[in-house]
Amino acid sequence: MVAYVIKRVGLALLVIFVVSLVGFLALRLTGDPAVAMAGEASSEADIRNIRLQYGFDRPILIQYADWLGRAVRGDFGVSNYFRLPVSDLIMSRFPTTALLAAFSISFALIISIPLGIIAAVRQNSWIDRLALLFAVSGQAMPNFWLALLLIVLFSVTYPLLPPSGSGEWVNFIMPTIVLGTHAMPALMRLTRNGMLDVLASDYMRTARAKGLRWYTVLFKHGLRNAMIPLVALTAVQFGFLLSGSIVTEAIFALHGLGHLAWESITRRDIPTVQAVLIILATFYTLLTLLGDLLNAWLDPRIRVS
């Protein structure tokens, strides 16, 4: 187990490092950051000044090393739109996004686990088909469109919820539904498939043959094993929700990391974009790492191979 943990942690660190490098190069090589920062109505001299001031004239790898050296100490530079340290911005915005992701994943799990179990137990029944239809529809639903439909329904037709804003818990309801719906299909399918595999297994038949009650078998023997793959997927989905919140937060003007990313992208605020990218990538990597480790802990077969 210790060797496995060390290997996975090392790999995760390497992934984060490479993401930071690729992200840095991608943002720098696709366009001149000085031109982007200066804006359209700027003179050659302005651009040259910005280039010198921010050190954009140095070789790109030197710039990267410089940036990385500061970043590991928590210094992501100063946002050139907000005129604040980027790390302060991130710290102030992160709780909102974390809360939104936590709400959304809970909402998704509360609906998808029972639905997946019922669909598996009653395989090929109308409820199984309905669950499948629900999953396919959920996957096909453009999240920004769902957001607008919810606004029409709950802010215009029935004015129950505020269409945008942040700070109050009511502001989280519609974003939670939108993001949760996005995560639901995959979780539901995995619960159903996991449960189907378990239901067909020998130990379930043995437990039934012993004369144990049906629901004891289902919940004590079945569910526990079916949940193993779900743990990893939940961690991964949580990571996706952190980054998937950009569109949702932009629509509902919910001031989290996603909204910060959106604002800084439209304002060509490159230091902030870079910082958000690396923070989101780090969280995603940590969550997948956590999922893998939990899996290895729950299922000894994984850590041996």
């Binding site: 992934v15 529809s137 096909a140 607008l148 980054s243 992208i265 997948t288």
Partner: protein, 296 residues
């Protein structure tokens, strides 16, 4: 996500039996019908569409669709805030969605499949490098990277297609890798190797044909993914640029009229939903058929 969700079994069935299965799967048939209709709509747009998608008529702005009391048959789906016929724009929008889906999948599919097949077949160091690249790619949030690149380079259909094509190869690589691994250890591959076939020959005539099933499944899933992403980017203003009739862009243009004329937003959204729904049904259907055959 891809690794955990996508359990694609490798099909080893003749096409005739595949055809037999096809008839009994309702979802698959619905998917095929939806996609056929959309493709026909895109191909014959100039002949089907009642109007020019770019012709503005400022005297006929925001005419409601036919199911409203004030709707007229001149504009069955109404007109947009610039007085352009909405039915026409929805029809032309299918071209943008399908072109994006097709080209993005062509680019991403080529990159991902090559990487996945190489990793699955050669294993060892190649597999390590490819798996690492997949991890790196997965931890970069697609929407964020795409938005940032488009913001710097400038939005256009070409840029969107390239950006998404260069980002969405991960699932192809994951699935092709595991499918190739399964096939590699099968007897006919071992026999081919024992018979002295060259590596390219084994890859092209023994392995590649058997990857069709999983490839079709991933292709459909990624097409759906690409269409939704293009729409989302265009909706945020960092995608396809006006006056092109992208469904995502149409939703964005109608957003300001959401409170009084919600159909401006619902109509292109329904088109988007129906197309993606159809593609997903097709993908699920193909997966069901190939997986079922394997279990029997």
């Amino acid at each position: 996500m891809a690794e955990k969700v996508l359990k694609v079994d490798v099909p080893r069935i003749p096409f005739s039996r595949f055809q037999k299965k096809l008839g009994g799967h309702v979802g698959l048939l619905v998917g095929i019908v939806v996609i056929s209709v959309m493709v026909l709509m895109a191909l014959f747009a100039p002949w089907i569409a009642p109007d020019d998608p770019y012709r503005q008529d400022l005297d006929a702005r925001l005419i409601p669709p036919i199911w409203h009391a004030t709707g007229t048959w001149d504009h069955p789906l109404g007109t947009d805030p610039l007085g352009r016929d909405y039915l026409t724009r929805v029809i032309y929008g299918s071209q943008i969605a399908l072109i994006t889906a097709g080209l993005v999948v062509a680019i991403a599919g080529t990159i991902g499949s090559l990487m996945g097949i190489a990793a699955g077949y050669f294993g060892g160091k190649v597999d390590m490098v490819v798996s690492f690249m997949i991890s790196v790619r997965l931890s970069m949030p697609v929407v964020l990277v795409a938005l940032a690149v488009v913001a710097i380079v400038g939005g256009s259909l070409t840029v969107i297609i390239w950006v998404l094509g260069l980002l969405l190869w991960d699932r192809f690589a994951v699935v092709m890798r595991s499918a190739t691994m399964q096939i590699r250890s099968l007897e006919y591959v071992t026999s081919a190797r024992a018979a002295g076939c060259s590596t390219p020959r084994i890859l092209f005539s023994e392995i590649l044909p058997n990857l069709t099933g999983p490839l079709v499944v991933v292709t459909t899933l990624e097409m759906a993914h690409a269409i939704l992403l293009e729409a989302a980017l265009s909706f945020l203003g960092l995608g396809v640029q006006p006056p092109l009739p992208s469904w995502g862009l149409m939703i964005a243009e109608g957003r300001g009229y959401l409170f009084f004329d919600p159909w401006v937003v619902t109509v292109p959204g329904v088109a988007l939903f129906v197309l993606v729904f159809g593609i997903n049904l097709l993908g699920d259907g193909v997966r069901d058929i190939t997986a079922l055959e394997n279990r029997n």
